[in-house]
């Protein structure tokens, strides 16, 4: 039955893509805003591989890293908007980062195409610290222990600051490059706790790491009992997704066809890309079309309030 449903779903999506009847006019340049070899880079390259095998489109992956996706945004902004240049960033790139950088770029200079997966962002510490809950950690800090909070982006540093503020604690916020570096820092004892976006799943399952809190508006999939941001007194969240974008003004058929194609492999657990998305993020989270436009616009708006709150 399950297989039948899957087949039905696939034929439906296949039909939709076919109906759009769009094929790329040439090879597609796929810019990747993440360091080579990391989980996000692998996801992008596998999506390209899956689509090449399935649809015969041709992708040319290329690394354009740095500045939280803004370097990629600046590079893709003036490329042809016929669907032959797309890039993978995170929603934070068009939201907080673009707002904070204030460098003359706004989300409407891009076409958001589709999201693939949402972060399982959590506040994590080593279980050997002896904290089993968020409150334990706050109690330790209040007892005078100076705590180092590892983060991997300015937005998360702001959130760490607000978490401290809401709970009457002053963290030493240590911002590093990439989620992997937070995990290494926490493991090495250079930091006491930190944000991790899904990379912690294995360590939490093994009992080495503890999810103290969910940094999302929702509970974590792995440890639903951990408190959400709103439970620990912060009105902002680290909700975020991997996002494919193109230059502004992409024709609707190209946008829809690419979005459907990517969404299909991302959601298919049996595809290579879908497989690793399932493993790291517990499944795909797909937003596209008008729903995605609203998400991006909302993020950009909310970023202003977060920036204000964190500079108080």
């Amino acid at each position: 039955m399950k297989r039948f449903l899957l087949a039905a779903a696939m034929s439906f999506v296949g039909f939709a893509a076919h109906a759009a009847d769009w094929t790329p006019p040439g090879p597609i340049k796929l810019m990747i805003a993440f360091a080579a070899g990391g989980g996000a880079d692998t996801q992008a390259r596998l999506i390209a591989e899956d689509l090449e095998a399935k649809l015969g489109w041709q992708f040319i992956p290329e690394q354009v890293t740095g500045k939280g996706g803004l370097n990629l945004a600046a590079a893709i902004k003036d490329m042809p908007n016929d669907g032959t240049a797309i890039g993978m960033v995170v929603t934070e790139s068009l939201g907080y980062n673009m707002r904070a950088a204030d460098a003359g770029m706004t989300p409407d200079m891009f076409t958001p195409i589709v999201t693939t997966a949402g972060f399982q962002m959590a506040v994590v510490s080593l279980s050997s610290k002896g904290w089993s809950s968020f409150d334990d950690m706050i109690a330790a800090a209040k007892a005078g222990e100076e705590l180092r909070f590892g983060t991997m982006s300015p937005k998360l540093s702001d959130l760490a600051y607000l978490i401290g503020k809401a709970n009457g604690v002053d963290f030493n916020i240590v911002q590093v490059r990439g989620g992997r570096a937070v995990m290494d820092g926490v493991n090495a004892g250079d930091m006491d706790l930190g944000f991790m976006a899904g990379i912690q799943a294995k360590g939490v399952a093994a009992g080495d790491l503890v999810n103290l809190a969910s940094a999302l508006s929702e509970p974590l999939k792995q440890t639903p009992e951990a408190p959400k941001m709103s439970d620990i007194g912060v009105e902002f969240t680290a909700d975020g997704y991997f996002l494919f974008i193109g230059p502004a003004g992409m024709p609707e058929d190209a946008r829809t066809a690419i979005a459907d194609a990517i969404a299909e492999v991302a959601s298919d657990e049996n595809s290579k890309a879908g497989g690793i998305i399932q493993k790291a993020f517990g499944g795909a989270s797909v937003f596209k079309g008008a729903e995605l436009d609203a998400l991006i616009a909302g993020d950009y708006e909310a970023a202003g309030a977060l920036l204000d709150a964190a500079s108080e």
């Binding site: 990391g38 880079d41 294995k202």
Partner: protein, 530 residues
């Protein structure tokens, strides 16, 4: 998972990793790549004008493209580079012995006794001595690496916090600036320029600093353009100019004539072993220090060997400089034992000590999934630390390369005398095109080629002004890490401006830095002349 388990996994990763199919046979890729790299290394080592780093630089993008950007690619690619590194050291002795032309800079000392032996008709024996000494030095060095690196890394991780790590990076940079090239002023200039280049376009703020508002600089200089530009293109430019000036004809090479017994007897081995032993220790010790390369090791090994030989030699044995086997043995054992040991700072601290190590770091960074440094040696027990498996895999590839060195190395090396016939002025333009193409294939924008050419001009000018390019490259690689660690240390200590001096270990490291700089400022005695 215990230590033995990790070692076993590392060995398995080498032999059961990705496979290469060849004519229907399926072979494990890593050992095959080590072999290919090793043979290529001997070839380029034997070719005057090419050297190991150049071959590593050129093959890297091809290798990464073939094996892909995933952790499975690490062992085949790095194994290949390790093969090149080891092969080129023994290859360099071939033209040094046969034609009085060192194939690599550190083989210069080999000419002093190697060529006289050739003139006496003992060419093949000289090559055998060189090979035996090289392979012995190499083995010794590998063993030391494998015993020391994990230990040092665990120690570092256990005792060094962020401020101490910052101080350690500062000490290494000071050491490199002070030691390489023999002039602290020039060393500082090269280090400063390297750091400056590393800071373009990077930083924490969303505005890409020092980019002058351009899109091209906003992404910073890709590491390949800086490293290949300064190290490789600078050398190529200089080589092309030299051949323009001295319109070359390689000329008729002398026929190598041989007479008498060419084999290496047990008595010979007994004679050279004490020299090999001393030089291996010297080379290993020097290799373990960042920035001090195989050329110094060779010089030092030769000098120590010469002094001992002068005191103890039998009256009928030749003096150093007149064709003594002991001279070849001292040099070759010393320069070969550098290669294993200089991976100690790379693997345990993430600090590259010489050009070959630079390319290993470059490979790890380009492929991803392996960050050389103390975190590699985290012996997790309930889950497998994949980086540690890679580290033990690398050790395994070093032993494979070593075994190849003992077996096919000698035979292959003795067939390499033809390489000297390749004219430099034809080779270098091809190398130039190859390097630029390789850079483009990785970066896919023409501006990267222009960056590389710009760095090439810089490297050329540095060579013409006697500024060593190696501190530049190492500073470029460590620059980002230094700034990040300092920032994190500052933030982690709650904004303590004296974080570098607030713990005993950090204070000690900073004091050592001061000592290194002050000693190198003292007027030098005449260095031991070769």
């Amino acid at each position: 998972m215990d230590v033995a388990g990790y070692i076993w996994l590392g060995i398995l990763a080498v032999f059961q990793g990705p496979e290469l199919s060849f004519l229907g046979f399926s072979l494990p890729a890593t050992p095959v790549m080590v072999l290919c790299g090793f043979l290529l290394g001997i070839m380029v080592g034997a070719t005057p004008g090419l050297a190991g780093p150049m071959a590593m630089a050129i093959s890297l993008p091809i290798l990464i493209s073939s094996f892909g950007y995933n952790p499975d690619a690490l062992l085949p690619v790095m194994g290949f580079l390790i093969g090149v590194m080891k092969g080129s050291t023994i290859g360099g002795a071939v033209p040094a012995i046969l034609f009085n032309t060192p194939g690599t800079p550190d083989a210069y000392m080999t000419t002093l006794d190697g060529y006289p032996m050739t003139r006496r008709g003992k060419a093949r024996k000289a090559l055998r001595v060189a090979h035996f000494s090289s392979a012995s030095g190499d083995t010794f060095s590998d063993v030391v690496l494998i015993l020391c690196a994990p230990f040092l890394a665990v120690l570092v991780e256990a005792y060094l916090d962020l401020p101490e790590k910052t101080a350690l990076l500062i000490l290494s940079l000071a050491f490199i600036a002070a030691v390489i090239g023999g002039s602290i002023g020039k060393g500082l200039i090269a280090t400063g320029l390297g750091l400056l280049a590393a800071y373009v376009g990077t930083g924490d703020d969303f505005y890409p600093r020092l980019s002058m508002g351009t899109q091209e600089l906003a992404q910073g200089f890709p590491i390949t353009t800086a490293v290949l530009g300064v190290l490789i293109l600078g050398e190529v430019f200089k080589g092309i100019e030299d051949s323009l000036r001295h319109a070359t004809s390689p000329g008729a090479l002398q026929e190598v004539r041989e007479e008498g017994d060419q084999s290496l007897r047990a008595t010979d081995i007994r004679r050279i072993l004490p020299f090999i032993g001393r030089s291996a220790v010297i080379g290993t010790a020097i290799g373990a220090l960042p920035g001090v390369g195989s050329t110094l090791a060779a010089t030092l090994g030769y000098t120590v060997g010469r002094n001992r030989h002068a005191r103890r030699k039998a009256p009928d044995h030749k003096d150093f400089g007149e064709g003594a086997m002991e001279g070849i043995a001292s040099t070759e054992a010393a320069n070969s034992s550098v290669s294993g040991a200089n991976l100690i700072p790379v693997l345990s601290l993430g600090i590259p000590g010489n050009a070959a190590a630079v390319f290993l770091i470059l490979a790890a960074e380009s492929i991803g999934g392996f960050n050389p440094g103390p975190t590699v040696f985290k012996f997790t027990t309930d889950s497998v630390n994949p980086e540690l498996v890679v580290a033990f895999g690398l050790f395994t590839t070093m032993f494979i390369a070593n075994a190849l060195n003992w077996t096919v190395g000698g035979v292959f090396m003795r067939t390499m005398s033809v390489m000297i016939r390749i004219p430099k002025h034809i080779l270098l333009p091809c190398v130039l095109l190859l390097t630029l193409t390789a850079i483009y294939v990785q970066e896919t924008r023409l501006v990267a080629i222009w960056f590389a050419i710009g760095f090439g001009v810089l490297g050329y000018l540095m060579r013409r002004t006697g500024i060593s390019p190696l501190p530049f490259v190492i500073a470029f690689i460590l620059g980002g890490k230094l700034e990040e660690t300092a920032r994190q240390a500052f933030a982690a200590t709650g904004g303590d401006p004296f974080f570098l001096f607030s713990s005993p270990v950090a204070l000690l490291l900073m004091a050592l830095t001061l000592v290194v700089i002050l000693t190198s400022l003292r007027p030098k005695k005449e260095p031991a002349s070769p």
